[in-house]
C-alpha cells in the first residue's frame, strides 16, 4: 500500500500543477468544510501516532490546545537529525505540497493561524524547494487570509536552523525558533499550553503531517484499517548501514522485520549476517538477529525492549566490533548534549572516556559495570530524553554483548602491551601496593 510515496519519483511532483493533477488540495477543501471538533474527532479515530519519535496520538495532541480565540501556532518539526533517519528529507524534497496540505489541515484542526516549518540548516537545498512550494501555495490561495473563503487564515514561514541535533527536541526547537540557544525547557507547561512565544503550539513531525491529507481523503476508518492494532497506517522506513539496498521504503506497519531488512533492503553483503540492528534510529535500544521475526510496529518493538522511534533501521553486520559502534554513538550524544543537566552532560562525556579505555585495553571488566551504572543514573534524571537516548542503546549493547566487550579489552591489552591485567579488586591491590598497569604504564 502506497500513500506518502505514491508517484514519489514523478518529475515535477514538487510543483503545484502536477500535485493538483493527482487530486492534491482536494482533502484540504474537504477538511475546511468540516467543523473543527469533527476534524479532531476524525484525526483521533484514525489512531495516527506521531512519526517523529515519541509516537503520541496526533489527534489527541491537537485536542489539547485551548479552544479560546487567540494566536495559536503550528510548528512542523523538520529538524530530522536522528542518526539513521532520512525520510523527511525525501518527503519534503519530492512532495512538498503533501506536507503543506497536511500542515494546513493540521492548522485548521488546532485553529492555528501562524505556522512554521523548522528545517535543519544542512537541508538547504530542500528548504529552497519548500520555499518555492510555499510561494505557489500562497499564490493559489491555500495560504494567507481566509483560505478558500473560510474563516481559517494561516501564515507559513520556512525557518532554517543551523545544525544542532537537540533542536529536534520540541521545546529546544521552540527556543531555537525564538532566536535563542536551543536548550530544552522544563515540562510542564507543555507546548500545547505554552509553546512558541508563550502561545499554545502544536508540534508535529513532517511525516505525521504528510499523512493528514490521506486520512481526510480516505476517511479515518479506512485509513486506520491499514497496518495493525495500535500501529495504524503506513510508515516510511529509512534503512541504512550494512545492507545492500539502503534507502526509504513505505510499508504498512506490522510487516515482519526480516522482510524489511532482508526482503526490501537486501540484507547484509554476501557472506555476512545481521549482528544487531537499531529499530528506531540510534536512540533506540538495539535488537539482535533473534528479533528479526518480530512484526515491525510500535507495540512489538516496545515489547522487545526497544522502540519504533523515528522508524529508522540501522543494520550492523558481524564484521563490525560492537565497541566501535558504541564509541561512535556515545561520541555523538556527548557532542550534541546541550549541557543543561549534569547527568547528561557528564554522563555522556564519561561514557566516551570509558569506551576509549575499553578500546585501548586499559579498562577492566569492572568498568563495564561502572558504565552500566552511569547509564542508569542518566536515565529519567534529565530535562529531556537526549541523555536517555544514549543510555538506553549503550545499556542494551552491554546486555547483549558483554562477553565481546570483555574480550575486546583483553585483545587490546595484549596488542598495546599493557602488561598483566589489573587486579579485579582494586582496593586490595592499592592496599598491598601492587603495581597494576595504572601506575606502571605512563
Amino acid at each position: 500500500m502506497e500513500l506518502l510515496y505514491k508517484n514519489i519519483d514523478e518529475p515535477g511532483l514538487n510543483t503545484i500543477a502536477v500535485y493538483e493533477s493527482h487530486g492534491g488540495y482536494q482533502s484540504l477543501r474537504k477538511a475546511l468544510a468540516m467543523d473543527r471538533a469533527d476534524l479532531i474527532q476524525e484525526l483521533e479515530s484514525s489512531e495516527l501516532r506521531g512519526r517523529g519519535g515519541a509516537g503520541f496520538s496526533m489527534g489527541k495532541k491537537a485536542s489539547f490546545l485551548p479552544k479560546d480565540k487567540m494566536d495559536k501556532y503550528l510548528v512542523c518539526n523538520a529538524d530530522e537529525s536522528e542518526p539513521g533517519t532520512f525520510k523527511d528529507r525525501e518527503l519534503m524534497q519530492k512532495n512538498p505540497h503533501q506536507l503543506i496540505e497536511g500542515l494546513i489541515i493540521g492548522a485548521h484542526a488546532a485553529s492555528a493561524n501562524c505556522a512554521f516549518i523548522y528545517i535543519r540548516g544542512e537541508y538547504d537545498y530542500v528548504a529552497d524547494i519548500l520555499d518555492a512550494a510555499v510561494a505557489e501555495a500562497r499564490a493559489a490561495g491555500y495560504l494567507g487570509d481566509n483560505i478558500l473563503g473560510t474563516d481559517q487564515s494561516l501564515s507559513l514561514v520556512v525557518h532554517r536552523g543551523a545544525g544542532a541535533y537537540i533542536c529536534g527536541e520540541e521545546t529546544a526547537l521552540l527556543d531555537s525558533l525564538e532566536g535563542k540557544r536551543g536548550n530544552p525547557r522544563l515540562k510542564p507547561p507543555f507546548p500545547a499550553n505554552q509553546g512558541l512565544y508563550q502561545g499554545p503550539t502544536l508540534i508535529n513531525n513532517v511525516e505525521t503531517l504528510s499523512n493528514l491529507s490521506h486520512i481526510v481523503r480516505m476517511g479515518a476508518k479506512a485509513w486506520s484499517e491499514l497496518g495493525v492494532k495500535n500501529s495504524s497506517g503506513t510508515k516510511v522506513v529509512s534503512i541504512s548501514g550494512n545492507v545492500q539496498r539502503p534507502g526509504n521504503y513505505e510499508i504498512e506497519l506490522g510487516i515482519k522485520s526480516r522482510d524489511l531488512i532482508y526482503g526490501l533492503a537486501g540484507g547484509p553483503p554476501d557472506g555476512r549476517e545481521v549482528k544487531f540492528w537499531f529499530p528506531g534510529g540510534s536512540s533506540a535500544p538495539i535488537l539482535t538477529a533473534e528479533h528479526l521475526d518480530l512484526p515491525y510496529d510500535f507495540d512489538s518493538m516496545a515489547g522487545a525492549g526497544s522502540m519504533l522511534g523515528s522508524g529508522a533501521i540501522i543494520v550492523i553486520d558481524d564484521s563490525v566490533p560492537v565497541v566501535d559502534v558504541a564509541l561512535k554513538l556515545a561520541t555523538f550524544y556527548r557532542n550534541e548534549s546541550c549541557g543543561k543537566c549534569t547527568p547528561c552532560r557528564e554522563g555522556t562525556n564519561w561514557t566516551v572516556h570509558m569506551l576509549e579505555r575499553i578500546d585501548s585495553g586499559e579498562a577492566t571488566p569492572m568498568d563495564l559495570d561502572i558504565m552500566a551504572s552511569v547509564q542508569e543514573h542518566i536515565t529519567d534524571h534529565c530535562l529531556c530524553v537526549l541523555g536517555d537516548s544514549m543510555a538506553m542503546p549503550i545499556s542494551s549493547m552491554i546486555k547483549y554483548f558483554r562477553p565481546e566487550f570483555e574480550s575486546h579489552i583483553e585483545a587490546a591489552r595484549h596488542r598495546n602491551d599493557l602488561g598483566a591485567p589489573p587486579s579485579p579488586h582494586p582496593v586490595e591491590a592499592v592496599g598491598s601496593a601492587a603495581a597494576g598497569p595504572y601506575t606502571s604504564v605512563a
Partner: protein, 207 residues
C-alpha cells in the same frame, strides 16, 4: 595511564574556560551611526526580521547571512548583525556558538562536511574524511569538517559540499570534489542525491 581530559568536552562555547576580562565594559548595542553595514546585508536581515512575530527569531537566519557575507561569523560580522537587529553582540555570540554551522572561529568559505556518523562509518566514512583532508591540503579557503548524521544515510558514505549532498563516495572522489569546488563547478553531478530515484521506486520497478 591516559590522562583524563576533564574540561574539554562537549561544551559548545569555544573559549569558555578563558579568563574573563573584567576591566572591559560589556558591549552594548552597536551604534548605527558608527557601524557601517553593507546595504544588501542590512536589507536581507531586515527582511528576515519582518517574517516573525518577534524579530529575535531572525537571529539564526541573520547570522547565516552575515556568515555568507564575511566567510565566517567574525566579530565584525556579529557587530553588523547586532547593529541591524538592535541586539548586543554578546547575545548573538551566545546564540551563534551553539550551532555547528555558525563558524565563530576563522574558517574557510567553502563548507565541506563529511559525515562520520554510524551509518556512514559502517561504509567507510572515516576513510573519506581522511582522504578529503588530504585532498584539501591546507587551502585556507576550504572548511573540511567531519559532521554528525547529515540525514542521507541512503547514500553513505556521503558528504555535503556547500550544501549539495553527494554519495556514495569512494576515497578517490575526494580529489575530484576538491577540484570541482576550487573551479566553482558543479560537484560530482552523477552522485548528487537530488537526482536519485528513491529506493522504494527502484524496488517497485524490479518486482
Amino acid at each position: 595511564m591516559t590522562e583524563v581530559r576533564r574540561f574539554t568536552h562537549g561544551s559548545r562555547i569555544p573559549g569558555w574556560d578563558d579568563a574573563v576580562d573584567f576591566s572591559k565594559d560589556p558591549a552594548v548595542v552597536p551604534d548605527a551611526a558608527t557601524t557601517p553595514v553593507p546595504e544588501h546585508l542590512r536589507a536581507e536581515i531586515e527582511e528576515y526580521m519582518a517574517r516573525y512575530p518577534d524579530f529575535r527569531s531572525a537571529s539564526i537566519p541573520a547570522l547565516r547571512a552575515a556568515q555568507r557575507e564575511h566567510g565566517w561569523c567574525s566579530p565584525l560580522a556579529i557587530e553588523q548583525t547586532a547593529c541591524v537587529m538592535g541586539l548586543t553582540p554578546g547575545y548573538l555570540t551566545a546564540v551563534g556558538t551553539f550551532y555547528d554551522m555558525i563558524e565563530t572561529q576563522p574558517s574557510g568559505r567553502q563548507a565541506i562536511y563529511v559525515c562520520t556518523n554510524i551509518s556512514c562509518s559502517l561504509r567507510g566514512g572515516d576513510a573519506i574524511y581522511s582522504a578529503m583532508l588530504e585532498a584539501a591540503a591546507d587551502d585556507s579557503d576550504l572548511n573540511v569538517r567531519h559532521f554528525e548524521c547529515l540525514g542521507a544515510c541512503d547514500i553513505a558514505p556521503m558528504a555535503s559540499v556547500n550544501g549539495e549532498y553527494v554519495g556514495p563516495l569512494e576515497p578517490s572522489d575526494c580529489a575530484t570534489i576538491i577540484a570541482d569546488v576550487k573551479a566553482g563547478r558543479e560537484v560530482l553531478p552523477d552522485k548528487q542525491l537530488r537526482r536519485r530515484p528513491s529506493a522504494h521506486t527502484i524496488a517497485k520497478q524490479e518486482s
